[in-house]
């Protein structure tokens, strides 16, 4: 490979690494910035500031790259833009943490709404009026009211979700118990909407549909938890193999080296998965997966039966009734035949 190609590869890898680190830090800062239910994130103000920083960064970066060196420069500037955003997000996070004890829910929501209204005024031209609305101001007012209601709802739900987490949970327990934590949060928040009682002529079907949705979501969560364990073990396998393979590649590489690497991968992987599969946590996860899967299947069958009721098609439960009848009749017949045979032999 040529030297210049090597350099470009190294530069790109370096930038990607920086980008990834920055994105991870930003993601973490954003999630911590929104975690305090008493102080909702000042979203409008944050977004406005972020846009200004982004615009400046992008403007400084110039037009489309004409060469690879321009591209790397622009990528570097973009990375530094995001670093500035990160700084802003961290400042916001600190600000929300400090203000947490003094603010009240009502004041926080009004402040948010004021910010939101200012943002709308800034973005929307004054002559713009959406269809059905008298003016842009009327739209802004209606939108602000809706936003306020939504903010109150989210605040309430976030509070309930946060209550589901135990403050003493360790990170390891959190990873292991992610399904349990999610389930608790779900049942406290979204689950309440999903399981709302249905009304009206279609209420039976609606309830079954709600039940299917509820069981499906729980099944997906259990499946994610299960898959995470499988994946986690895969990652640990690769980590161990990487450490052990250093020795393999430190000497002269032959064709057989790849075979040895593969054999190492298989032996480490088999051991790790065997260890995983016999742990109580895995068994719990498997139990949850099967149980939620059966719940979902039950509710789905129920819904299908409900749908098919109005059609001239025999449903599964109706067929099962017939099957059971036939089975019992065959059994009775067999018993009678046996008795007849015994009687014949006695005669």
């Amino acid at each position: 490979m040529s030297e210049s190609t090597n350099q470009i590869l190294e530069m790109t890898l370096d930038l990607q690494k920086k980008w990834a680190e920055t994105a991870m830090k930003m993601s973490s800062a954003l999630s911590s910035a929104g975690s305090n239910p008493k102080q909702p994130l000042d979203a409008a103000a944050w977004m406005e500031q972020a846009q200004k920083i982004m615009a400046k960064g992008m403007a400084d970066s110039g037009a489309s790259p004409s060469s690879l060196s321009d591209l790397s420069e622009q990528l570097e500037q973009a990375a530094s833009t995001y670093a500035s955003l990160l700084g802003f997000a961290q400042a916001q996070s600190k600000k929300t943490d400090n203000a947490a004890e003094e603010s009240t829910e009502a004041n926080d929501i009004s402040a948010l709404l004021n910010q939101y209204q200012e943002m709308l005024s800034g973005w929307m031209p004054s002559e713009f009026a959406p269809p059905g609305m008298a003016s842009a101001e009327a739209w802004q007012k209606a939108s602000t009211t809706m936003m306020g209601n939504w903010a109150r709802l989210m605040t309430d739900l976030t509070q309930r979700a946060t209550d589901g987490f135990d403050a003493k949970t360790t990170p390891e327990d959190a990873v292991q118990g992610i399904y349990a934590s999610w389930l608790k949060s779900y049942e406290a928040t979204l689950g309440r909407f999903v399981n709302m009682p249905a009304v009206g002529p279609q209420r039976y079907s609606m309830e079954k549909l709600e039940k299917s949705t509820d069981t499906y979501l729980k099944y997906q969560a259990a499946n994610s938890d299960f898959q995470s364990k499988i994946t986690q073990t895969g990652i640990e396998t690769l980590q161990e193999v990487t450490e052990k393979a250093e020795g393999l590649f430190s000497e002269k590489i032959e064709e057989e080296t790849f075979d040895e690497f593969y054999a190492l991968l298989m032996s480490v992987g088999e051991r790790r998965y065997r260890d995983l599969f016999s742990t109580p946590l895995f068994c719990q996860s498997l139990e949850a997966l099967v149980a939620t899967g059966l719940d979902f299947l039950d509710s789905w069958n129920d819904l299908t039966e409900e749908t098919l009721k109005s059609t001239p098609i025999v449903t599964q439960s109706q067929a099962d009734e017939m099957h059971k009848e036939i089975y019992l009749l065959k059994k009775r017949l067999s018993q009678l035949e046996q008795r007849l045979g015994e009687q014949d032999s006695q005669e």
């Binding site: 490979m1 590649f249 430190s250 593969y262 068994c283 498997l286 032999s345």
Partner: protein, 412 residues
């Protein structure tokens, strides 16, 4: 210049492997697109009985005068019976036939939704009993040899303890008897399953569901390495043919009748009732001590499905005096399909079966019937042929009565 482990060196070695891979893939494409004979069960057999979903087959003897005591093979409900006769060079049945045995096998078939209510009682007291009675009648024997494989071995043990008068010899192979062990992942995982829910929801437990469980026992080897190995040998027609045939068997998984599944998991895996003497079938307790016939217990020392700890206790639980244990350093499937299976394992089992199949016992006429028959009737009755006209058999070497357990075949 001395090569170093630079990127160029790695690329060069990797490129050589890629070239070889490409050659294999090109040849492999020819192999895969050519007609491949992947049919299973090559040994000729005839269907002699068909009841509901299951069928009874009789393999055509390869000797002029087969042994008088026939052998009936009961495979597990999980997977298909033709594992015992997968292909011509991997056929346990062919070894049995070469040893002069008269071999029958039950094909349980594929249960439909209507079979979801079948219980273990229906299988054991019903179907197995029907099959055994048929073979007894056809062969003119009071008692025959029952050979149970895997779950079929568990069923055969229960059957023999219920109907000892109909069983001359009992052989079980990789059969789970004692389920209270943590050595097998199936035993560990089954505790997390709710068989009641599964039977209620599924009706018949899907074969694919069972398959996923089996594959999960060793996912790297069974879902990854196996196919890497296929690519490595794709240019070998024999390898590919055998591979495809094995794949067909592995994924030919019948659904499990819901009630029988529920009963088996609850009574065996969860409560281990058979070993404790608490298992009830047809209203009666099953007592393995009722088994006093000669028994053969074959198991695999590296079995990850049915660990040796699950099979081994069988010989201590039965009331037999003539007990033989054969254990081999292979896996669950290796007992049937490995190279050593044809050379070593199957011939040893066939030998035991042949040694125990030589004595003929005519069915006694019913008391009172003889007296009432006229001379003409008696003459006629004598001449009525059975399906296999019995001939006088010269006395063959009979194994001396053995005392205690004899263990052989274990090679480290």
């Amino acid at each position: 210049m001395e090569p170093t482990n630079s990127m160029d060196q790695i690329s060069s070695v990797f490129a050589k492997r890629l070239v070889k891979l490409q050659e294999r893939l090109l040849k492999g494409t020819e192999v895969m697109t050519d007609p491949l004979d992947t049919s299973c069960g090559p040994t000729p057999k005839d269907e002699v009985l068909s009841v509901d979903r299951w069928k009874l087959y009789r393999y055509r003897p390869v000797v002029k005068n087969p042994k008088p005591i026939p052998v009936i093979i009961f495979y597990a409900l999980i997977n298909r019976y033709y594992m015992v006769d997968l292909q011509s060079d991997r056929s346990m049945v062919s070894k049995f036939l070469e040893a002069g045995l008269d071999v029958y096998v039950v094909d349980w078939g594929h249960p439909s939704r209507g079979d979801r209510y079948l219980t273990m009682e229906d299988y054991i007291d019903g179907y197995m009993n029907q099959a055994v009675d048929f073979v007894r009648k056809q062969s003119g024997q009071d008692a025959i040899t029952v050979y149970g494989i895997c779950q079929g071995g568990t069923f055969s043990s229960i059957y023999t303890s219920r109907y000892p008068e109909k069983v001359k010899n009992l052989a079980i192979m990789v059969a789970p008897i004692d389920f209270d062990t943590d050595k097998g992942l199936l035993n560990v995982w089954s505790r997390s399953l709710d068989p009641d829910r599964m039977a209620e929801t599924f009706g018949n437990v899907p074969g694919d569901f069972m398959n996923m469980g089996f594959l999960l026992l060793n996912p790297l080897r069974l879902m990854f390495h196996k196919y890497v190995d296929l690519v490595d040998h794709m240019n070998d027609k024999d390898f590919v043919t055998n591979f495809v045939r094995m794949e067909r068997w592995i994924f030919d998984s019948p659904d499990q009748a819901g009630e029988a599944f529920r009963q088996f998991v609850k009574c065996m895996y969860h409560k281990n009732q058979l070993v404790k003497g608490e298992f009830e079938l047809g209203g009666k307790l099953v007592n393995l001590k009722n088994i006093t016939q000669p028994v053969l217990n074959v198991f695999a020392e590296k079995d990850h499905l049915v660990p040796p700890d699950s099979s081994r206790p069988f010989t201590d639980l039965v009331g037999s005096k003539d007990k033989t244990v054969l254990s081999y350093p292979t896996g669950h499937i290796g007992l049937f399909t490995s190279g050593r299976s044809q050379k070593e394992y199957a011939p040893a089992i066939a030998k035991w079966l042949a040694e125990h199949s030589g004595q003929k016992k005519k069915r006694a006429k019913k008391a009172g019937v003889k007296a009432s028959m006229s001379d003409a009737s008696k003459e006629k009755a004598k001449k009525v042929p059975t399906a296999k006209t019995p001939k006088k058999i010269t006395k063959k070497k009979k194994a001396a009565s053995r005392k205690g357990t004899k263990t052989k075949g274990s090679k480290k």
